[in-house]
Amino acid sequence: MGKVYKYGENVDTDVIIPARYLNIADGRELASHAMEDIDADFSKTVKKGDIIVTGKNFGSGSSREHAPLVLKLSGVKAVIAPTFARIFYRNAFNIGFPILECEEAAERIQGGDEVKVDFRTGKITNVTKGESYMAEPFPDFMHELVSKGGLVNYVKQK
């Protein structure tokens, strides 16, 4: 179970990890700047297992893989949004960072809610509100990618 951080629509990669930090190679140091342009407290308060819920088109903009990576390294368990920008979507799967497309969850869940996610079934449970929602199922190929632990292992095993 994780606490929800809620943001709006079109959260872009320049906000998730500003370009001015892209000269940093160390993952932990990078992660300390995650989301800081819209939520200065994020990296200080986020705990392992917390969940980000946002409006449509999360992760729009740059191809920087640093974006899903800093969220993963911050301990974020998953991002739930109605839609994701396509490069962010790819990158998340490729590095084994779970994302879920669910319009209802994105609409109903509020910041601070306690939420549980079952990636196998796509069921999202809002413990605070006593509700549950079903995410769009992943295509089979994405299941395979995730089950192998991301693209690096997928290529290795070929």
């Binding site: 079109n10 872009d12 320049d14 906000v15 500003p18 370009a19 001015r20 892209l22 000269n23 940093i24 190679a25 342009d37 819209i38 449509k56 088109n57 729009s60 903009g61 740059s62 191809s63 920087r64 893989e65 640093h66 839609t83 920008a85 396509r86 490069i87 790819r90 990158n91 490729n94 590095i95 295509p139 089979d140 190929f141 991301g150 693209l151 690096v152 997928y154 290529v155 290795k156 070929k158």
Partner: protein, 441 residues
Amino acid sequence: MNTKDRKKIAVGDSELAACPMTMTQKILTAHAGLPSVRPGQFIEARLDMVLANDITGPVAIREFEKMGRKKVFDREKIALVPDHFTPNKDIKSAQQAKELREFAKAQKIVNYFEVGEMGIEHALLPEQGVVTAGDVVIGADSHTCTYGALGAFSTGIGSTDMAAGMATGKAWFKVPSAFKFVLSGKPGDWVSGKDIILHIIGKTGVDGALYRSMEFCGPGVEHLSMDDRFAMANMAVEAGAKNGIFPVDKSTMAYIRRHKSKVLNKEPQIFAADEDAEYEKVYEVDLSKIKPTVAFPHLPENTRAASAARNIRIDQAVIGSCTNGRLEDMAVAAKILKGRKVAEGVRCIVIPATRQVYLDCIRLGYAEVFVRAGAVFSTPTCGPCLGGHMGVLAAGERAVSTTNRNFVGRMGDVGSEVYLSSPAVAAASAVKGRITDPSKL
């Protein structure tokens, strides 16, 4: 093309009658070695070029090493371009550029372009003939979609995809459905590809074309120069699209012939959409009705006519980037700045996108025009577009910029603002000190 590939395409063609495809779907079919593809299908496609820069490259190199491969799949089919934070803006950036350089050397990468001969990747690769019509290209940079102007399928991916591409020469794709943009009419004075694509993004929204191809076609295409088309395909990603693509015509072939690589043995392959291909949506765009257009902060979809901007004072004007750093962009900026001065209190920064454009600016006298007008004339770099260097904004500052994103904090402080425009609007605005329609100058 070898005989085996030709046979695969021939098989594809014979089945097309039963399964009409878009231009993008045809290119993917040929590269997947399949008789045909349908939207939503997962395929693995052969790659003709795999690109990264000094920011995404080092991450890709580390992932490549994790994959346990010693050698890249083909040293001629990888392009590494240090363009973002170069010439190195600080020690950390220098370290990243060094990693890229050392990897390129160790792997004997043919298409590595050092500072001095480099350019902004998406202007450089077409100019150097590294990409051509019919190619499938992935790049660890979101504006990789630029090469759609040449009739290639090209799309941005992340560093891990780049690593897998370098290792295997292949990438996975979900075959996209498409939106069709039927262009008609001829653009008016001071209207360029940038105004057209901003106008289109204003209609679709920043996620309107999410996961889809944007296929541009129609009688208006012939009135668009290659530089116009590059600017338009470049910003397909700002509508959320997977790729933007133009049909191959006389202008395309003339460009490809003029920019044929002396190093690589590349031949263009022409693909065309089937007449009965299915599109999710069709947009009719009359180019003659489009006015010089500006995207207001903080999304590229917030478009308005430049003439509707009421006294929006600017601190900086940037003319350059992978969207608008080509010779025609420099030419129109020089035309406006010739014999004029940049307004007091405005910093005007002009950045030709490649060494060749830089040389042409010197040869044609543009460089002197810019400097005499009071502008800065810089070596190629992505620098200011992403708030890296060469023009970072302070809190409360406002820029008009020919770049492609105006997100919060994109060019510097989170309290700064970016207005996206064409080079003509940016140059006219630099002269007036406020956002200006060039026809009103």
